[in-house]
């Protein structure tokens, strides 16, 4: 009888082949973000929540004095639910653009992480997850503020953080892709002016899109922010069945698309 002996390797440690999207790699990148967050959470929470709240108050009470109800809802509640999507956008697309660029180009953080057993795919995925978690959390602020001004609680509100997370994941991928593709941080202005501002305005946040011209309505259908606005509103005021499934599917599709795009562009940027 023969016994097979394991081949000798230079060291005795087990040599498990490391795969893709490993949990310890994702956790490592997330831990870095969480520890860093402890040093800047105040400013981040401030900018991500105060700005949409100002929009809510300005529009809610400014327009609210001219129009009592929109689409059957008191205007403050209409805007209060709409600006949840704004808060999600502000706390995902912008940090993804700016902090990704800074970490890749100025702080060289990503060089340090990629020298550890972490691949670009894991790095990008973990960074997007982290931004999505923050977006899901900060996104709730306008809704909470609107509740102070009379928005009634509902069970559907409990899904709003999840909707914010899914949409935030997509916008994080969008921002990361832009950051990876741009040669200079000044170029972000083109994206903000030509892409984000129009999307922000044609999303049904401040006014319903069904009074817009047909071309603008079609455009809104392609706008992930519009689907986020609608889904949040239905979560708060009452589900609409198939329409909400379409909104959800668009947000998930948007997230999957930008996730792969971000990984591709970041690989091009970070690996020579």
């Amino acid at each position: 009888m023969t016994r097979t002996v394991a081949p000798m390797t230079p060291d005795a440690r087990p040599r498990r082949r490391l795969g893709r999207l490993e949990r310890p790699a994702l956790a490592g990148v997330l831990v870095r973000e969480i520890i860093n967050f402890s040093s800047y959470w105040r400013s981040s929470a401030f900018s991500s929540t105060v700005e949409p709240t100002i929009y809510l108050l300005a529009f809610g009470f400014g327009f609210g004095s001219l129009v009592a109800t929109v689409g059957g809802y008191p205007y403050v509640e209409f805007v209060g639910t709409g600006t949840v999507a704004t808060a999600v956008l502000f706390s995902s697309a912008f940090p993804a653009m700016f902090s990704t660029y800074v970490k890749a180009e100025f702080q060289r953080t990503y060089d340090a992480i990629l020298a550890a057993p972490v691949d670009t795919e894991e790095l990008v995925t973990a960074e997007m997850l982290w931004i999505a978690i923050r977006a899901g959390t900060f996104g709730c602020t306008p809704m909470l503020v609107a509740m102070v001004f009379g928005l009634d609680p509902s069970w559907g509100m409990l899904t709003v953080p999840l909707i914010g997370f899914i949409a935030g994941f997509g916008w994080a991928g969008f921002g990361t892709t832009i950051a990876a593709a741009m040669k200079s941080i000044e170029n972000f202005n083109y994206v903000i002016s030509a892409v984000l501002t129009p999307l922000f305005l044609v999303a049904g946040t401040f006014f319903p899109i069904d009074q817009l011209p047909a071309w603008a309505r079609t455009l809104a259908q392609l706008n992930p922010l519009y689907h986020c606005v609608e889904l949040v509103r239905d979560a708060v005021f009452g589900w609409e069945g198939a329409a909400d499934l379409v909104h959800l599917a668009v947000l998930i599709g948007f997230g999957l698309l930008t996730w792969r795009l971000a990984i591709w562009r970041m690989t091009v940027r970070l690996i020579d």
Partner: protein, 299 residues
């Protein structure tokens, strides 16, 4: 029997568009030794270092790190390596200790091992008293020590050091040399790129001199000096016309020369048959070899 190799490169080529940064590099690092990559700026040292962590992908050739083929198995190789980058990429708003804790996670240490690893790294970096200090309050030398200690939290078998002492005071440099020498004596394999000759001479068992993306010479510092620069050199000082004269005469006599900026060094005096120019005699050194092999003109 020869020792197993921690690094093995064969015919490695890396191009950036029309520029060939590494042009057929062969390199071997026996386990437990310290090898220096020496070369002027643009010789391909940093590109080589980046390829070893798969942050640059070679166009041609074979790369093996700790028995793992790159780039396919580079993640396993990275798990067993510590990397000290040329540019400081510490998290400056975090404390010394937080920076180390982050890396215990990135290098996948178990829950029970992290505390001890952080303490050990703090001791290596001599920053035990500074554990709660934010990195942007540290001196340049402290930051470098932390950068090295950060790469050691997982007790790597190999260290990749890219210009570890560039831009530091002589005192700080000596301190880091002691640290690196300590690692070597513990049996850690070390690959170090540098353009400081003294650093390579003091720390490295073997030096590979790179020029234009190729290895132009490999050997221990002493062997390289003996082979390429001989045992003794003479330095002749004077006005530029006199130096040009000395240079021409030495060349005519079959001797190697090199300009030092203020003098002409005439090398290989031991092989000179006949009169040698008058001047200050000194032992030949690695810098002579470096300049002889990589050229006097700055690209």
């Amino acid at each position: 029997m020869s020792k197993p190799l921690a690094i093995r490169l064969r015919g490695v080529v890396k191009r950036y568009g029309p520029i060939t940064a590494v042009a057929g590099l062969d390199l071997e690092l026996p386990e437990g030794s310290c090898v220096g990559l020496l070369g002027p700026n643009g010789a391909g040292k940093s590109t080589t270092m980046k390829m070893l962590t798969a942050q640059a992908i070679a166009d041609e050739g074979e790369l093996e790190v700790l028995g793992h083929r790159l780039p396919e198995a580079s993640k396993q190789a990275r798990a067993e390596c510590g990397v000290v980058p040329q540019l400081d990429n510490l998290d400056t708003t975090l404390t010394v200790e937080q920076n180390l804790v982050v890396f215990t996670h990135l290098y996948r240490l178990g829950r029970g091992e992290r505390r001890e690893a952080v303490e050990r790294a703090l001791e290596i970096a001599k920053l035990v008293d500074r554990r709660a200090t934010k990195v942007d309050k540290l001196s340049g030398g402290m930051r470098r020590r932390l950068l090295i200690a950060r790469a050691l939290v997982h007790r790597p078998r190999m260290m990749l050091l890219d210009e570890p002492t560039v831009g530091l005071d002589p005192q700080v440099r000596q301190e880091l040399w002691a640290l690196i020498d300590g690692l070597r004596s513990e049996g850690v394999s070390i690959l170090m790129s540098t353009h400081y000759i003294e650093e390579a001479e003091r720390l490295c068992d073997s030096v590979t001199i790179m020029s234009h993306g190729r290895a132009v010479a490999t050997g221990s510092p002493a062997d390289l000096i003996a082979e390429h620069a001989g045992t003794e050199a003479v330095e002749v000082y004077g006005a530029p016309p006199k130096l040009a004269e000395v240079e021409a005469a030495a060349r005519a006599a079959g001797l190697s020369t090199r300009r030092t900026g203020t003098s002409i060094a005439v090398l290989r005096l031991d092989s000179a048959n006949g009169a040698t120019p008058a001047g200050e005699r000194r032992p030949a050194n690695l810098e002579d070899v470096f300049v002889l092999l990589t050229g006097e003109d700055i690209a």
